[in-house]
């Protein structure tokens, strides 16, 4: 199916800063894409380019088949929920929601009905007469959302929609947003710097750094098959080992004193980065085959414990083990094992 929104090789500079650097991305119908990255990596700028609030220096923006690169924001069938919500302080909640509808020439009974509908969808049906300053943070967030969805946009752009909410409300709102998306059948682009939020909400996640997209993939692929070290590091702590390819195709990791078999062809002598998620490693008392080590440090996390295991050659391996059997103690000698499939080869 044709994408609803297409960003094609877009670059945006602010003086010397390249805020968005040659980014291309397609948003499918009814799809939720998250833009994930550290502060200042260009997420908001990319979103604003989609909304038409920022003009790209080069590249094109399409909505459906139309080239909207030069179209002003008021002529685009997309709506943006601002990080600050940007509710009109002099209008009531109902007037805020009706504002966008009025711009479309909707009047009278239909105007009231559609605004009420949108308010009901975010469970604010009875607060229409209030002014924004009479609402809680969570209620304001939902007014901002209602104001956008009332317009039935093709794409809803959300800039850190949950940033101002507490953890509990945030999780509930994530689920509500997902349900709302299913019901309304509109595409979402969500900006966030919380990888948990991105994973929970998005069909695909674009991991950004310095204005570039490092990888655009479904959450599971990002976690299990990251394209490079930066992406791998973004999703939780990870063991990254630098090794050298041998003539038989295996990789020798000198500082651990082990050799591992990995996917892919490597030129002998080539240096290869191998990554292993801490939770894929099993810890057992000494005995049997595996990597030997001694527990140097441990952090109790409730559902699991993170062990820092020092190997005889001096390397440290991070392990996350569930708190099921008997816990291991400081200084205890252990054996580490992992399934071969858990090893990931990363582009350096």
């Amino acid at each position: 199916m044709a994408p609803v929104l297409r960003i094609d090789a877009v670059t945006k500079r602010f003086g010397a800063v390249v805020a968005v650097d040659d980014v291309s991305i397609d948003i499918g119908a009814n799809e939720c894409v998250a833009l994930l990255g550290a502060s200042g990596c260009g997420k908001t700028t990319l979103l604003r380019i989609m909304a038409g609030l920022e003009q790209p220096d080069s590249g094109r923006v399409f909505i459906g088949d139309d080239d909207v690169t030069a179209a002003p924001p008021y002529a685009r069938p997309v709506n943006m929920m601002f990080q600050s919500y940007a509710l009109f302080p002099h209008m009531t909640v109902h007037e805020n929601v009706a504002f966008g509808l009025k711009q479309d020439g909707i009047k009278g009974a239909e105007l009231t009905v559609r605004a009420d509908e949108a308010l009901k969808a975010v469970e604010l049906g009875d607060l229409g007469a209030r002014k924004p300053h009479q609402l809680s943070g969570g209620q304001r967030q939902r007014v901002a959302l209602a104001r956008c969805i009332a317009k039935r946009p093709r794409v809803l752009l959300l800039d850190e929609p949950m940033a101002a909410l507490d953890k509990h409300l945030r999780e509930r709102t994530q689920l509500e947003l997902l349900a709302l998306r299913k019901r309304l059948g509109i595409s979402f682009v969500v900006v966030t710097h919380d990888q948990g939020e991105a994973m929970a909400m998005a069909d695909r996640v674009a991991v950004m750094e310095n204005g570039r997209i490092l990888q655009l993939a479904p959450p599971r692929d990002l976690y299990e098959r990251p394209a490079n070290i930066q992406v791998a590091r973004f999703f939780g702590d990870i063991n990254v080992w630098n090794g050298v390819a041998r003539s038989d195709g295996a990789v020798e990791i000198a500082h651990l004193g082990i050799t591992v078999a990995v996917d892919g062809k490597h030129v002998p002598g080539e240096s290869v980065a191998v990554a292993l998620r801490p939770e894929r490693i099993a810890v057992a008392p000494v005995g049997g085959p595996g990597l030997r080590g001694r527990i140097e440090d441990l952090v109790y996390l409730g559902s699991g414990t993170t062990y820092f295991v020092r190997t005889p050659l001096g390397g440290v391996v991070r392990v996350l083990a569930p708190n099921t059997g008997t816990p291991f103690a400081h200084g205890e000698s252990v054996t580490l094992t992992w399934p071969a499939a858990a090893l990931m080869v990363l582009a350096p």
Partner: protein, 295 residues
């Protein structure tokens, strides 16, 4: 000192000031407005009637007020003042709003300089600047001679000593009072609100009318009052730039007070003027109170 005493002490200073410079003179004026003019020092009759130094009654008259409503001159002068002040206020608003808007939208490091430029005329004497306008506008002035040299006109235009010249003078003199409160309001306006309006489908002009303008309304009102109120009672500008046909209450006041030495009538003119001006102030207060309830 306890904090309560100290607070009362601190509050006493502004109250003392207001009493001394506002209420006391006002009461005096009110008292004189009920007197009759006579040749004496001071040139009006006593308020209290005394016999052998003992107050036996008051001798107040409403004749001064009655005169103002019976003699068309005064009504005309009030209406003339209000009209010229209103026209000047509207012109100042139409000029000042775009100026304030442009300054508020300028880069932050530029705004200070632009505000100083707006207030720059204050650094020279007001009279000097009005004389400068006279040399520009009079029949042999710069504008007329320039137009004649260019062959655009045959005879000099009459620009000085017209109601238009008075409006020009008032707008020129009071424009900064319009720009400053408007700027203060517009500068606080969150740019994201206009972006949201555009995002929701509002063209720039609609966004201005439904977001910027209503949110800057308190600034509009403050600016209008700061121009309108002094303009109604203005004396110097109509005197120097107006003509015999520009009837304004400030000039009447001056004539009654200094030329006719009719203090009671001049006082009555002042009291009525005050009442004319209190109405817009009350309106402003009401709007302010509403605005502060919904910021």
């Amino acid at each position: 000192m306890t904090s309560a005493v100290r607070r009362r002490f601190v509050l006493a200073i502004p109250w003392l000031w207001v009493t001394l410079v506002l209420f006391a003179p006002l009461l005096l004026v009110l008292k004189i407005s009920f007197a009759t003019a006579q040749i004496s020092v001071p040139p009006y009759s006593e308020f209290f009637a005394r016999t052998d130094g003992v107050i036996v009654g008051i001798q107040a008259t409403l004749a001064n007020y009655a005169l103002m409503f019976s003699d068309a001159l005064y009504v005309k002068a009030y209406l003339g003042s209000v009209k010229i002040a209103a026209i000047s206020t509207v012109i100042a608003l139409l000029l000042g709003y775009p100026m304030a808007y442009a300054i508020a939208r300028a880069r932050p490091e530029r705004r200070g300089l632009l505000l100083v430029l707006v207030m720059l005329p204050f650094w020279t004497s007001f009279l000097v600047r009005i004389y400068a306008w006279q040399t520009l506008l009079r029949p042999t002035g710069l504008i007329n001679s320039a137009l004649e040299t260019l062959g655009l006109i045959d005879a000099p235009l009459r620009m000085l000593n017209t109601p238009g010249a008075v409006c020009l003078g008032i707008v020129y003199a009071y424009l900064p009072f319009m720009v400053l409160p408007l700027y203060a309001r517009l500068e606080k306006l969150d740019p994201a609100l206009l972006e949201a309006a555009a995002d929701l489908g509002a063209k720039p002009w609609r966004a201005f009318l439904s977001v910027t303008l209503p949110l800057s309304l308190p600034g509009v009102l403050a600016g209008c009052l700061l121009v309108f109120i002094p303009a109604v009672g203005e004396y110097v500008i109509p005197e120097l730039m107006g003509g015999p046909d520009t009837l304004m209450i400030g000039k009447i006041l001056w004539t009654e007070f200094f030329n006719n030495r009719d203090w009671p009538l001049a006082s009555a003119v002042t009291v009525i003027l005050l009442i004319v001006l209190v109405a817009p102030i009350m309106l402003f207060q009401a709007v302010q109170a509403r605005a502060s309830r919904s910021p």
